[in-house]
């Protein structure tokens, strides 16, 4: 059995989570604070991967990233033909696919504390950016933890999107879930058992750890 799919999966999940925290935080802030009438439409788009079959999302991504889509044009800038079936394409797909799992908890956390702490900070001479980092983010730390863990775990488990836009290229796009599928297809039951069991233990550990951490943060650990 090769370790490659496991390492690749961890890389993908970690990178996706980092990108999602960077992109998702301002998005969650805007969704929580903006008065724009069309913000719920944006929120719906973000939430779509929750209900869409992964193959549908994968199909559109394939169109987008393939040689005839904007992704193909982008890829041509560095001499490649397409962004489909590459690690980069997989990252883009994972970011979109896991976005609701990161944005939603952070948005909820931003909404939960209301306007008052932000007003108090403003009356104490904190600029909006200062307030964001010294008041809003610390107050929303539970939402960040939940979002990061869910985003990471969810990316680890994705299958449909990967199959559609990533295929099964060892070292490039062959992640854990696809590897398990592969082993079953070729009747390598022992290897499939090992990976599946590993995933099971990993997922259990992640969720348990998150719940314990949330409890500790919730008690007001400063």
């Amino acid at each position: 059995m090769s370790w490659q799919p496991i390492i690749l999966t961890l890389e993908l999940a970690a990178l996706t989570t980092v990108i999602l925290l960077i992109v998702g935080t301002p998005l969650a802030w805007w969704l929580a604070r903006s008065g724009a009438w069309w913000k719920e439409a944006v929120a719906t788009v973000v939430a779509l991967p929750l209900v869409l079959p992964p193959t549908v999302l994968g199909f559109y991504l394939l169109m987008l990233l393939g040689p005839n889509g904007p992704g193909g044009w982008l890829a041509s800038l560095w001499g490649a033909r397409s962004m489909a079936f590459t690690f980069e394409g997989l990252v883009i797909g994972s970011v979109l696919y896991s976005m609701p799992f990161v944005v939603q908890p952070i948005r909820n956390a931003f909404e939960a504390f209301g306007d008052r702490p932000l007003e108090a900070a403003a009356t104490l001479r904190a600029s909006p950016l200062d307030t964001f980092f010294t008041v809003a983010v610390p107050l929303a730390r539970r939402g960040f933890l939940t979002g990061a863990v869910l985003g990471f775990a969810h990316t680890m488990g994705e299958f449909g999107v990967v199959l559609m836009i990533g295929g099964n290229i060892p070292g490039q796009t062959k992640v854990l879930s696809v590897a398990i599928y592969d082993y079953v297809e070729t009747l390598q039951w022992d290897e499939a058992h090992l990976l599946a069991g590993g995933m099971l233990v990993f997922s259990f550990t992640v969720i348990l750890t998150m719940m314990m951490l949330e409890k500790r943060i919730g008690r007001g650990g400063r």
Binding site: R116, E119, A122, A126, L139
Partner: protein, 363 residues
């Protein structure tokens, strides 16, 4: 007058149009019933809410036309009704939140952490989390945090309204001390007249988004045409100085503008300044110097004005002293006695004071 306020605009379902001037020192109370717009005026002064108008402190314009200075650039301290401390910071870091952003950036330090800790009795709380404080303690930290941001204007939005009676009594003496030492003006929103009388020097009476009257508190209190004179607890608060003692009877002699009062208890050495609150219902009028009465205080005065309040009662304003040039007091008397004694403005009378409440040690 160094605080100039004018805001107008639509607030929910009513029109707000509030304009007043306030002095550059002392506490100016914005007083009125719930929903009269007083909190909105305060929020506009802080820039937390925006209505049209103008706001200037000492000629420094914070809002006018399209000029609007954002909240974090206004040198204010704001005390919210609920202390609104940051739950993720300790009491000490809460206190220093604004301090770091002002003194830490070169603003001259007028108020130091040690001063605030002493003044508000916060020493034993510094390393605690705000979540483990009582309501009164939280509010004291809120006041301290606002003061440490070195404000040039302190805005207080019903800081006692969310507290129970005990916490209120606990925190009021601290606010009174503050009043003595603070050199910046304070706008204080309240709907509790007792609180306002204990603390305020100036009064702005608001009703449904309009200013009914504004001026020094004693003047407004002694105006029988204003709605505060119609409240059951109507009365005046007068500055007084301890002038002597009758130790044998445990009494203290207080000198007012135009008269003297004997009050029970030891109120400190001669020269101590106090505020005496005299309720309208504790003052009765007599045409002749009373004899054979148990009432200690009968002060010569003159009737200045009178206003019929309802079928039964009159509200009379008397000025102390035989010439009627001293401090003014309210007296609530029945119309029957008023007519029986043939009283009218201009007449000399004796104001009999049945009770005096001492509200404050002023500086």
């Amino acid at each position: 007058m160094s605080l100039s306020v004018h805001f107008h605009g639509t607030l929910g379902r009513f029109e707000l149009d509030v304009a007043f001037e306030a002095p550059g020192r002392g506490i100016t109370a914005l007083f009125g019933p719930s929903g009269c717009g007083k909190t909105s005026v305060l929020r506009c002064a802080a820039g937390l809410q925006r209505l049209n108008g103008r706001f200037a402190l000492d000629g420094d314009v914070w809002q006018e036309g399209r000029t609007f200075r954002p909240t974090h650039k206004r040198p204010i301290g704001y005390v919210f009704q609920e202390a609104s401390l940051f739950p993720h910071l300790s009491v000490r870091t809460n206190l220093l939140f604004g301090h770091r952003r002002t003194v830490g950036r070169g603003v001259p330090e007028h108020i130091r952490l040690d001063d605030v800790v002493d003044l508000l009795g916060l020493g034993h709380l510094l390393d605690r989390s705000p979540e483990h404080l009582s309501g009164g303690e939280r509010q004291r930290v809120g006041v301290g945090r606002a003061l440490l941001s070195q404000p040039r204007l302190l805005l207080m939005d019903e800081p006692l309204a969310a507290l129970d009676r005990f916490s209120k009594e606990e925190i009021l003496p601290y606010l009174e001390r503050l009043h003595g030492v603070l050199s910046v003006p304070v706008l204080y929103v309240s709907h509790d007249i007792a609180e306002v009388e204990r603390l305020a020097d100036h009064l702005v009476l608001l009703r449904q988004g309009r200013v009914v009257a504004a001026g020094p508190m004693q003047e407004l209190q002694a105006d029988p045409t204003l709605p505060i004179a119609r409240m059951p607890e109507a009365g005046v608060t007068l500055p007084a100085v301890v002038a002597g003692r009758e130790d044998a009877y445990g009494l203290t002699l207080l000198r007012l503008d135009g008269g003297q009062l004997l009050v029970p208890g030891d109120l400190g050495p001669q020269g101590t300044a106090r505020r005496a609150r005299i309720a309208a219902s504790d003052v009765s009028l007599a045409r002749n110097p009373p004899e054979g009465s148990t009432i200690l205080n009968a002060l010569p005065a003159r009737i200045v004005a009178a206003e019929r309040q309802d079928e039964v009662q009159m509200m009379a304003v008397v000025a102390l002293g035989e010439e009627g040039r001293g401090a003014r007091m309210l007296a609530r008397v029945t119309r029957k006695s008023w007519d029986a004694l043939g009283l009218s403005p201009g007449q000399p009378v004796y104001a009999q004071v049945k009770g005096v409440a001492l509200v404050q040690e002023t500086m």
